[in-house]
Assembly symmetry: C2
Homo-oligomer: 300 residues x 2
């Protein structure tokens, strides 16, 4: 069992630490929020005093942070992981960030002889708790093979998808499809509802054919039942699509649907709906159609 | 067994006639193309001399035509079905058309005491041959219940979704989701491929999660294998999305993703790609990214 450092102890990081501890790993943990450090210390982890302090006491450091700027700060910034990391140690960033930032952080690690993987996850809090996340990894194959057993304590599917950055590219590909599939479902359901049809009848008539999807099965009942409790939040999906568009731009790739849906998400955030489930994308289509959107009763 | 008239004996109508004949129905058939009449006569149907002539000899007339204008012509036009149909008989239009046209034709039938259902199908030629189409029906419940046994000789799923026009609204909802899901997959795969990833690895990494869909499973292998043999043709899907946008406009509903994908399909038609499978939507995204699109080897 390895000495593992863990930086970022929020909704995802907390339960991921718990699963690492259950598997017998020794954990040193840090978060800028002291209460989160205390909570994970309560699971049996040793509290660290900084990201650097965590790295000094670990062979492997895992980071799980909101977005690229936080990862840059925690890894490359003052009192960051890289100041404390020894050559030959490994940093695994499991945040969902821009692949460009992942590559920048990876290059800085390499320059110090520190190995780096980007390994974003999919599945959200429930699968973080269950240890059944899907983990998409970018980096060197030998490093991946060494780290895979550690990752498997947190995820049921652990896939190497290419060099550093590829994990986040795969995650963004996933997020593009999910967001656009939700918006497409929204357009279909608004059209049918406005035409006077029962959306449940439409859902049942089409779900078994080529229109069928995991999004349709998971989200159509939420939309029809006006339940927008997250799940996955509007503001996080907006962040992911923004990262996808920035990465696409750097490669001169145009993403017309993705950019449209990113703007829908931004508009919903401007209405104070950033913490609703991403299925609330349908609200944007409804507003366009002049349909009064009932205020969701079960905001988190 | 009923005396059934059938107008429109193409790729879909031909095998649908065959299944009606197999079930023991007596069939009178007509198409503007004499060779198609001859072929279906070879299955055991009686050839008619016009749409009106078919209606004069039938209690039920089924129409299966390319789009709304052809249905208006065949049902409401000179020597059309309605000229020959007796009060109390039933017309079932199984074409995929604008719900507005379906309602117009339905109203003209009602004025003559003729009953009308719109009953578009999904599943394409293979399911027309197998008699396993999904049939989405709009119309009066009593008429639906009477016609359902006839429809079940052609389809494995037969669903009443609302009043006349609702069948086509449901079909359009289906087509919106399918087209947008294909385009979303295209954006995700182009981004990943341009970033240097193996699209097959990405496909396998994400297909089990929230990004999973029938479209992803059916079409990603076609895109990755550069096989754009239809399947369902670009030009037919363009027609469906155009009908969706016209119906949406009549209800003051905006469909931003649908309109974008409809324009992608139109652009591909302008390049002579109208007879490729709709998975070739990805070609549009590739062209935007300056990726040279290999000419598909297996055009029909």
């Amino acid at each position: 069992m390895s000495n593992i450092g863990f930086v970022g102890l929020g909704i995802m990081g907390g339960p991921m630490c718990r699963n690492l501890l259950k598997s017998g790993h020794k954990l040193v943990v840090y978060d800028v929020v002291p209460a989160l450090v205390e909570r994970v210390a309560g699971y049996g982890a040793s509290p660290g005093d900084s990201a650097r302090g965590v790295a000094e006491r670990s062979e492997i450091v895992i980071t799980m942070l909101p977005d690229g700027p936080e990862v840059e700060q925690a890894v490359l910034g003052p009192a960051g992981v890289l100041e404390g990391a020894r050559p030959g140690s490994t940093i695994v960033d499991m945040s969902s960030i821009s692949p460009l930032v992942a590559q920048k952080v990876g290059a800085a690690c390499q320059a110090k002889g520190v190995r780096f993987l980007d390994a974003p996850v999919s599945g959200g809090e429930p699968k973080a708790v269950d240890g059944t996340l899907a983990i998409m990894v970018g980096g060197d194959e030998a490093v991946f093979n060494e780290m895979a057993p550690v990752l498997r304590t947190m995820g049921s599917s652990v896939t190497l998808t290419g060099p550093v950055g590829a994990g986040n590219v795969t995650k963004l590909a996933n997020q593009i499809i999910v967001a656009c599939n939700i918006a497409a479902m929204g357009e279909a359901l608004v059209l049918a509802t406005r035409a006077g049809l029962d959306p449940n009848v439409v859902f049942n008539a089409i779900k078994g054919g080529l229109a069928g999807s995991t999004v349709l099965n998971a989200k159509a009942p939420m939309v029809i039942g006006r339940n927008f409790k997250p799940g996955f939040r509007i503001r996080l999906h907006q962040k992911d699509l923004r990262n996808a568009l920035l990465a696409a731009e750097s490669m001169k790739v145009g993403l017309p649907l993705t950019s449209t849906v990113q703007q829908m998400l931004m508009a919903l955030m401007n209405q104070g709906k950033g913490d609703l489930d991403h299925s609330a994308i349908v609200n944007f289509i409804e507003q366009m159609a002049g349909i009064e959107v009932k205020s969701p009763g079960d905001l988190p």
